[in-house]
Amino acid sequence: SAAPSSTSALHVPEVHTAPRLPQEGHRACILVDSREITSGLEVISSLRTVHGLQVEVCPLNGCDYIISNRMVVERKSQSEMLHNGSKTKFIEHIQRLQSMFQRICVIVEKDREKAGDTSRMFRRTKCYDSLLTSLVGAGIRILFSSGQEETADLLKELSLVEQRKNAGIHSAVVNPSKCEALQFYLSIPSVSYITALNMCHQFSSVKKMANSSPEEISACAQVTHQKAEEIYRYIHYTFDIQMLPSDLNQETVKSNACSV
């Protein structure tokens, strides 16, 4: 981690390394979860080479793609949606995304077919239909893709739409001196990676952030007023040690010896 003396680093030049180019289709920025390197390599390389987007691989902790200040995209294979087994997990995951993002899109991607393999034929299930209708009922967007290349194309289109609505990501570069602040912001409940990043870029110090009004938080973190209120309440929430689960409370007392 950075030494505390790195205060001298003016953050002006960094802002200019990722300019907001008005020309569409180029240098738009997408954040990709590092787990996607193993499962969606072709998506990432298509985004970079075919569509020329700025792709930043970050530890997004389960959010597959963040394509704007408010929108997350979940890439899901069709076979996983078809079976009841992973339904609960999927629902919980989407609920978690709902707590962090204003807009969610699910891309249902067809599984890669092996030559001659007919056993994985698509057979529509009731589980699949009910998931789709619940998503539609909750206003979550669904897109269907035939493979990783098409998924990349859809991501690009989504990011263009979001840019047109002025929700595009300005800069995804994290200055090493901001890493600690980023981790701090990320620990606030229901704050997404992009929101934490915006806070890093827009607030001159963590103290400044902690003393901001909901309006200032809303403007700097690029979040809705409701979300800004939520963050504001958290910053001003009065801690009560009695409310901590007792095991954790006692652990505090005796963990002196084993603390790192």
Binding site: P4, R124, I142, E180, F184, P189, S204, K207, Y234, N249
Partner: protein, 215 residues
């Protein structure tokens, strides 16, 4: 069969659990599959959509033939989108023949118009899906897992975790600091001297630097 006043463009009255269908679907495989499971009412002169799930929500059905024929279907979608009072769900027949046209329909429907689009392979699949949509419409919104409000975890636990992100603060010092400075805001405004009452000099300076230095 009851009839709403003709004219087409006005709101269509749909009793709960029923589907109002366009007359041209009478006798189709789709209608036959649905009959018995939901109550279908056919109506003439429905101008906008193929099926009405409620007075606010409707289904536009794009057949394989519509897709192959060209962009004619687009006009219908735009009219529903512009109607103001209707949420349109588009069901499209995605078959081996029409597959190649699907990406264009999807971009137009979802990305340009912001409507929901669901592909089906045939009318049989469509009937199951529409029945599911009716059930979704009729049940209480709280039964939808994505509309249920999730309860928040204990803020105390999160606060301890947040304070632990400050360099030099682990799971022992975090609750101690929060007992003395019970909100993040108060902690951020603490002076080195005040912090020294809880932690040592070095850590007090680290905490103060973390909050005050410009990123």
């Amino acid at each position: 069969m009851e009839r709403t006043p003709p004219g087409g463009a006005g709101p269509v009255h749909v009793p709960l659990g029923h589907i109002v269908a366009r007359e041209r679907w009478r006798g189709s495989q789709l209608a036959q599959e649905m009959q018995g499971k939901v109550k279908l009412m056919f109506e003439e002169g429905l101008a906008l959509a193929d099926f009405y799930l409620s007075s606010r929500s409707c289904i536009l059905y794009i057949t394989e033939a519509d897709l192959v024929a060209g962009h004619g279907y687009r006009k219908r979608l735009v009219r529903v989108r512009n109607s103001g009072h209707l949420q349109g769900i588009v069901i499209v027949e995605k078959t081996q023949i029409s597959e190649q046209y699907f990406p264009a329909v999807q971009k137009f429907t979802v990305l340009d118009l912001g409507m929901a689009l669901l592909p089906v392979a045939n009318q049989l699949e469509a009937s199951c899906l529409i029945i599911q949509l009716v059930q979704e419409q009729t049940r209480e919104p709280s039964r939808n897992p994505f509309l249920r409000k999730k309860r928040c975890a204990l803020p105390e636990l999160s606060l301890v975790q947040t304070v632990q992100q400050i360099p030099g603060v682990g799971k022992v010092k975090a609750p101690l600091l929060l007992q003395r400075f019970p909100t993040i805001q108060q902690l951020s405004n603490a002076s080195v001297r005040e912090l020294e009452e809880v932690v040592g000099h070095a850590v007090a300076r680290q905490i103060h630097a973390f909050f005050t230095r410009p990123h």
